[in-house]
Amino acid sequence: MISQVFILSSQGDHLIYKDFRGEAGSDVVSVFYEKVTALTGDQPPVVMSHGDLHFVHVRQGGLYWVATTTSPGSSPFTIIEFLNRFSALVKDYCGSLSEKSVQMNFALIYELLDEVVDYGYIQTTSSDVLKNFIQTEAVSSKPFSLFDLSNVGFFGAETQQSKVAPSSAASRPIQSSREQGGRSEIFLDVIERMSVVIGSKGVVLKADVEGEVRVKCFMPSCSEMRIGLNEEFSIGKSQLRGYGAAVRVDECRFHQNVHLDEFHSNRVLRLCPSQGEQTVMQYQLSDDLPSAPPFRLFPTIERDSGGRYSPRVHAAINVCATIPVPKGSVSLSQELSSPDQSAELKLQNRAIDWKIPRFIGGTQLSALFKLEVSGLSPSSLMEVGPVVLVFELPQLTVSGLQIRFLRLSPVQPAPSQRWIRYVTHSDSYILRL
């Protein structure tokens, strides 16, 4: 049972406030913000109490999404899941999640809240049901950007680039598709998150992959969708299929709307997607990766430090390596292998951030960092490392999962577009030194 729901910006501005049960006044919003700011670090505990009132909050899009409840017996799973789902709905309806988009669409959000929760009880969060009730149109806040222009060819000619969906294509309000009519698109994303620990001798100590297949549907009506996965896809250790390189996952969970009758024979998922974003399938794989981890590090630390990376994949973008340094570090001088890379010493994090915007596959990069450390002692070298890599691998899944096909039936009228995207993120990629 939820008593109030409110959204706060990170500066504490009240963006949305709705009271469902009249059990507490609106002053608790400020109480909440005081509690959050009184704590050191930017990481307040998920549950906080003020008298009889319990605050449960999640952070999404840089905003605080807070629900209050008076009964300590409320299920935290339910409230947190609801807040996440609610923020996902707001994202679906407003296109993106930011302080600005929430501010501009507050009427829409009030309308959503009104339909989603009644008297503190969650009624429905299905966008199929909600679309019948929501009347307000989203105001999208798309800043003018030169990148948008770059996709347009001279004199409107079709360029190679226009066949690739821009990365912002999926961040738009779902409702607008109704008015614009034309762009009925469907995005199928395979997203994998890696958490890897590689020991100092290059031994993989831990490797976990959490994967999701997400559908983002902008079609006003879509009756059925069939997603074909790799035929040799297998779940668990015992069940290997086929003779080729099997794609194996440890555990696999499906959205409740997915029909699995063709899954066992042909690895086909059938579902009727509702508008907006939904996770069709989640899977996880631990310890036994089919391929070697994408990055390795060959560090040499002497009284100066240096390192080389060698990726084994075709390309990575937005790579950022964070290298912890000893406490007394004062300044940094660097030798990087190309001018688009940058390295910076962040004193408050006690780390060097080495940014590599593009990393071509199969190559090695090397960098030499020279640190000036005041009061260097032999034990200072203990403080160097472990190195953390943050990266994004487009067009690649570590598990090897591929989408064979994506069919819509009945066949949609012409202008429907289907996009399939693969990406692997680093959840936590740690290389010990």
């Binding site: 670090g41 449960v56 935290p76 009427a107 429905t124 620990v197 936590s428």
Partner: protein, 717 residues
Amino acid sequence: MPYLGSEDAVRELRRALSNPNVQSDQLRYRNTVLKAIRAMSQGVDVSDLFSEMVKACATVDIVQKKLVYVFLCSYATLNPELSLLVINTLRKDCQDPNPMVRSLALRNMTNLRLPSLVEYVEQPLAAGLRDRAACVRRVAVLGWAKLHNLQPDAEIDAAVVNELYGLLRDPDPVVMVNCLRALEEILKKEGGVAINKPITHHLLNRLKESDVWGQCEVLRILQRYHPQSEDELFDILSLLDASLVSPHPPVMAATLGLFLGLCSGLPAVSLAALERVRGPLLAACGSTSRETRFTALCHIQLLLRSLPGLMGAHYKRFFCGYAEPAYIKQRKMQVLVELVNDENVAMLLDELKGYCTDVNPETAQAAISAIGRIGRSYSDRCLEILTGLLGLKQEHITSAVVQTMCDLVWVCPQCSDTVCSALEGCEEMLQDSQGRQALLWLLAAYGERVSSAPYTLEGFIDRVRSEASLGVKMELLTTTMRLFLCRPSETQDMLGRLLHYCIEEEMDMCVRDQALLYYRLLHCGIEETHKVLHGQRSDPSLGVLIGRPAEPINQWAYSFNTLEPLRQAGVETEPASRGSPEHVTFDPKPNTDLSDTLNCSQIEKLGTPISGQLLPFFFAEPLKFHQVGWGASVHSHFQISPEMFNRVQVRALAGPLKDIHRVVPKPLLCYLGCVLRFVVLLEDEPSPQSEVQSALEHVFIQDVSVHCCIHLSLNPD
């Protein structure tokens, strides 16, 4: 945050709203209303616009209607008379052919929260229950709950209740679930909605039709059902088996909650259910939402209390990610400590060692104390890491290591040699009072083995004038006294200086009293002093507590899937509740309330925090003083009001008290109990026991049982 000049803004808005030109243009009208709502949600008081908004309500534009209703529901309680005007529009809307308009009107009619309007609302609500459209019925059903809560004392309309029971068979699943919710509220006094066998089976059969939220609600309410036979129980369980491994954490948790409730008499079945949810829980631990991760972690900790081996093979899943927030990292470390065994100990310690140099000092400290906990079983490896960390020469790390060693030695006295040799040279790195207190305690306990102890103490005594922390001063007094007992020749001079300073110059009453006590003690002779000051170096009772037995599930089942397990994190990480000596020693304020009753010159806390109720007493031999000892099992939420302890000092003599959950093997749910023991040395004639006890009960206000006994002195002179 109210804007400056918000009055102007309101005036401007009112002018616009009552402007006929604006009113005739639908879009402009709507935008003006929008502006008013925007001002409202930013915190501007726009209640003055109420009458204009009432007018704006009568429109065909649904968006505008919705906006106006948001406004009206927020301010209706301030303007009950004007709200009457809205009712007419709302009642008219209830007849609208469009079901969306009907449900909207009905919902907002009940959201106005005005008892005076109840008579107008009842009729449309009753009609709403029989509406053709499901969305209207959903609203109407909950509307009755709202009405009931507006007038909680009014008699319950049996016809409505019957109708609501009838609607449990409604084809729409949300209506069904809403009926449960409404009946639960209306019949709260009778213990909620009646759950009998037909209703249970009906609800279970339709469980699959509901969405996640409906399923959770149904599962929660079904916890009250008691199956009539074991066969029926197993039928229900097998029906729910699929939900137990649901990919949605809320459904999984609600189902497990129901399982635990139903199987409270069948521990084997419950344990099997816990095994079954391992997969989904682990998956929730890897969820994208870090809040879900945290919740799952907290519940895994609960499960581990009954099934310590549950996650043994999956310990790597609890390795901390780099970007995870500190509260998740700390929980993960707590879980990792539980999962340690002979095979993975090297791997785990290696991982934990990596966290010790974390940028966030709290995470680093948590990692160090986690290593200390593992040290109870694998002391050699852990001490090696801990002493290695001292080499880093960082303030917060050194402090955490010394505190951890202090705890470790208390449990494993065999580590003391390594610890003593590691202590040399630490004192320069210790800046915070907790670390220094721990160091002083260690010097007091093992002073005869640390060769440099007198020099360290001398440094402390030289700086005592600039010492800010009360706790450190008190600890320093005791340490110097105890060191004097074992190494008198080296310490005598500095003890004299310290006592002189504390008695003559120190402004703080507590420190002064303490020093006086020691001064008088020394007058009584060295034998007596020895008896009083001979504290324990380790806790003999801890041996049993370390090997932790699996608890029965019933111990925690009631708090499963509630906010309780999550909140405990807050209690533990707040420094104030760690129960450090500093927390218990407080500012004595001039107050004569108690000092008349309890003219105590000393209270010494000899005990250590121990889980459980009450412990047999332990305190020093009675001396010239009348001694009162009492133990109080203190609820974690207790607060000592400082003035109660006027002129009373509390000091940890025997054991470091800073880490309450150190001894409580796993934090007990909502009962983070601990026992504080005090010895009060009374200078005067002893007050009758009842008088002292009532004074003590006065001190621990609630939730506390105070046990008190008075020992008359043996030789009152």
